[in-house]
């Protein structure tokens, strides 16, 4: 039904400017700042807006504020906190918070609320990653202490992402009626359609320029049509549409670590099954030579130009360009001759002349799975399959209607997945033997003791800086084993009204749309 609705909306939006005599209907009034900003950038969270249930993991929580935050250059700066320190043994965080902060219902935010937020989130069963936290308690009105069970160098990221909720106003209906200390408060939310927010009068920072913002939850094509009709001031569009011209709007491309890669099952199929009865392992991709050959055969630049219209950059690792990335991850790709030699050496030879290599009677053939509604993943899978044919590997492309169906085959087939977070925790969960087969983390059952060792050293380092050498060391082995073939990092593309000044956007995590609101309180209307 989605398509019908999309089509109708698209159609009516296309007609609107025609009927009103030209698409510049709104352009004339644009020099005057609008009272209400209308954004079609998605970002709806069906579970609601409760940080203790995971809201705000990707991008800012907006209704709530966090203890620390990233600035546009990815430097960690204070938000609610005024000072923070970590004990010598790395187990106790002490954080001082501002005195002047009030929630949107005019009640003060104290250390009690902070402690309550962390303790509640820890009980939410993995929705917020606080597994290493012991307990949080308020020392006095403005000082909170968080004790850890063991060292966790990524813990500071929890201070950056977890929005603080009020202890006395947090109940079962909180996700639908969030109260926080962020720059905006919820006015109205029509699920699946739109959300209206207004400026929080008690916000401790400078009052935002726009008093009211409407978020439309439209599909990408509809957002684009709305932008063309001049009905929104910003629209998140797929890279495919970014080359289009929209009068009065300019494309704003934001670099991201939102990547797409091929996940390989790294163990052979021995008939083993998961608890749910899904088979594990793939005899072809279990051979590191196959995986390595694929990573060097892929033409990443062509994918960026072809599928993403140039809005992206090649990806060689899961965290390209972030502080914990290993700069040596990159290599010469589009090297089909090298890939062929590699396969030849490993014993994969086309002996029967059908263009596909074999080794001991096993054909170099596997299936690449993509989710049916993600077009860019489909095109990447098709394109890679064509490339692999040139080096004698047969990749059959197959779609699955949703991620529930993908879960059934993701331990035995190659899957096009996307990751990318502002948190090295992702490395820990993707490549760690501990996380083999746990949710979507290490679905390929990758295991290398040297990687595990470095990951453990990294996580138990005292802080982020001390952990970085270990994060990077782990990636050296990962590069050799190639449990993933990372392909591209997307650039998130937005059509932005020429009069809207959105400042400098930070490098965005996985999720196209919402993360751009990280600095929404600084947005302005310019002449």
């Amino acid at each position: 039904m989605h398509h019908i609705i999309r089509f109708l909306v698209l159609f009516s939006l296309c007609c609107t400017p025609l009927l009103s005599g030209g698409s510049h209907a709104l352009a004339s009034s644009e020099s005057k700042p609008p009272d209400t900003l209308v954004l079609a950038i998605g970002g709806e969270d069906k579970t609601g807006y409760d940080p203790t249930l995971g809201w705000g993991r990707y991008g800012s929580p907006m209704f709530q504020s966090t203890l620390l935050k990233f600035d546009a250059d990815m430097k960690i700066v204070n938000d609610l906190a005024t000072a923070y320190s970590l004990s010598k043994d790395g187990l106790v965080w002490t954080i001082d918070i501002r005195h002047d902060v009030k929630f949107s219902n005019n009640t003060p935010l104290t250390a009690e609320d902070v402690a309550f937020t962390f303790n509640t989130a820890a009980k939410s069963g993995g929705l917020v990653d606080l597994a290493h936290m012991a307990v949080a308690k308020a020392l006095d009105r403005n000082r909170v202490q968080i004790a850890l069970q063991e060292n966790d160098s990524t813990f500071i990221n929890r201070l950056i992402t977890l929005g603080i909720v009020p202890k006395n106003f947090h109940g079962p209906d909180y996700p639908r009626k969030p109260i926080g200390s962020g720059p905006y408060m919820l006015e109205e939310w029509n699920e699946g359609q739109q959300m209206i927010v207004k400026a929080n009068p008690y916000y401790y920072g400078a009052q935002p320029f726009f008093k009211r913002i409407v978020f439309l939850y439209t599909p990408e094509d509809t957002s684009f049509a709305a932008a063309k009709a001049g009905q929104v001031q910003m629209a998140a569009v797929p890279a495919m549409l970014a080359k289009q011209h929209v009068p009065g709007m300019t494309i704003h491309a934001v670099k991201s670590v939102d990547n797409r890669g091929l996940m390989f099952p790294t163990v052979p199929d021995t008939g083993k099954k998961t608890d749910k009865g899904y088979s594990i392992g793939n005899n072809v991709t279990a051979d590191p030579a196959i995986r390595r050959a694929i990573t060097i055969a892929i033409d990443r630049k062509a994918l960026v130009q072809g599928v993403l219209e140039g809005y992206g950059r090649p990806a060689y690792g899961v965290c390209d360009g972030l502080p914990w990335d290993n700069p040596n991850n990159s290599f010469q790709d589009n090297d089909q001759a090298g890939a062929a030699t590699l396969l030849q050496k490993a014993g994969w030879i086309d002996s029967d002349g059908d263009g596909i290599r074999e080794k001991k009677g096993l054909k170099a053939e596997f299936t690449i799975i993509y989710p049916a509604n993600r077009s860019e993943r489909q095109y990447m899978a098709l394109s890679v399959a064509d490339t692999l044919k040139k080096i004698g590997i047969q990749a059959n492309v197959e779609e699955k209607p949703d991620f529930d169906e993908i879960q059934k085959v993701m331990h035995k087939d190659v899957v096009v997945f996307g990751w990318g977070a502002h948190d090295p925790m992702e490395l820990y969960q993707l490549y760690n033997t501990k996380f083999a087969g746990v949710e979507y983390n290490n679905v390929g059952y990758y295991s290398n003791p040297q990687v595990d060792e470095n990951l453990e050293k990294a996580i138990s380092a005292r802080n982020l800086e001390e952990a970085i050498p270990f994060w990077q060391a782990a990636q050296v082995y990962v590069k050799e084993d190639a449990p993933w073939a990372w392909m591209v990092n997307l650039d998130h593309t937005y059509f932005v009204n020429d009069h809207l000044d959105i400042g400098k956007s930070q490098i965005e995590p996985h999720g196209h749309g919402w993360p751009i609101t990280a600095n929404i309180h600084e947005w302005k209307w310019k002449k």
């Binding site: 039904m1 989605h2 398509h3 019908i4 999309r6 089509f7 698209l10 296309c14 990408e220 094509d221 684009f224 049509a225 063309k228 495919m240 549409l241 289009q244 062509a302 130009q305 072809g306 599928v307 993509y370 049916a372 509604n373 077009s375 489909q378 095109y379 899978a381 098709l382 394109s383 064509d386 492309v397 197959e398 779609e399 209607p401």
Partner: protein
């Protein structure tokens, strides 16, 4: 009705004999032949066409229709002519299979309703009313979704939802035939029920069946395309008309008109051909009109 109309000695589909008779059926035969030839060619093209046109080619993407690419290329540089022909064949194949299965159900239920007594008739009629009363598209989506989508889902959905009309026609035809003079007379003459079925019923029912089948094709194909367009049908990376149309929708607003217009016209053209083919067959085969 005149019993001489149906001379059992003469095969009712003796086209060559009718061709020579130079009656109204001559042009009908001609156009039916041409259309059949067209479909034959289409399938041959789809079968023999090289797959290289489907390969991703970033150097030649989004080319407007030209001599080299009569249908243009899409955003991945795939040849739209190849995709359209392959897509049409795929859609046709699935439509044909679904229509064929559906008509088998029709004829089985139709004969059962007409010959096995009042209780069976009541059950079949209720079933017919039930399926006809449900909105077509809703039923299709429901069944296709329940069967897990894909080609199987589409075939089952179209099969299960398209039989009632033809069932009704066949049931009515047989009921009418049973009471007709020549059948009653044959019974008086002591002919066995099998003989009557073979020589009186079959020549009347078979044309109805064939025409019903042919006229069901366009429905089946359109519904297959519709289901796929809505995302409940075939896999997005394999060309089929529904997929081509759904994919090209986002490009309509961006000026790549050939991605939607040309496959769309091809679909309409094909479906219309089936319609003409069905009507011609009616003229040729039906005992009531075949002598005009």
């Amino acid at each position: 009705m005149n019993t001489q109309e149906m001379n059992p000695a003469q095969p009712f589909f003796n086209l060559s004999a009718r061709w020579q008779s130079g009656d109204k059926r001559q042009p009908a035969c001609l156009s039916a032949g041409c259309i059949a030839l067209f479909f034959l060619l289409l399938f041959a093209a789809g079968y023999f066409m090289n797959d290289t046109g489907l390969a991703v080619d970033f150097l030649n993407k989004k080319i407007a229709p030209s001599l080299h690419y009569p249908f243009g290329t899409d955003w991945l540089g795939r040849d739209m002519l190849v995709r359209t022909v392959k897509g049409l064949c795929r859609s046709l194949g699935i439509g044909l299979l679904a229509a064929f299965c559906s008509s088998i159900i029709s004829i089985a239920l139709g004969i059962m309703a007409a010959t096995l007594g009042r209780k069976v008739d009541l059950v079949v009629s209720t079933l017919v009313n039930l399926v006809m009363a449900t909105p077509h598209l809703v039923l299709l989506i429901l069944i296709s979704f329940a069967c897990g989508g894909g080609a199987t889902g589409v075939i089952i959905a179209v099969t299960v939802s398209h039989w009632p009309n033809l069932t009704r026609i066949i049931r009515a035809e047989i009921l009418q035939l049973r009471e007709s003079d020549f059948v009653l007379l044959s019974q008086r003459f002591g002919k066995t029920p099998v003989w009557i079925a073979r020589h009186h019923m079959l020549p009347h029912v078979l044309p109805q069946f064939v025409i019903g089948l042919i006229l069901m094709f366009p429905h089946a194909i359109l519904h297959e395309a519709g289901l796929t367009f809505l995302g409940f049908g075939l896999a997005p990376h394999q060309p089929s008309i529904g997929i081509l149309l759904a994919e090209s929708m986002r490009h309509l607003s961006t000026g790549y008109w050939w991605l939607a217009i040309l496959p769309g016209i091809s679909l309409v053209f094909t479906v219309k051909l089936f319609d003409i083919l069905g009507n011609n067959f009616r003229t040729i085969l039906e005992p009531r009109t075949s002598q005009e």
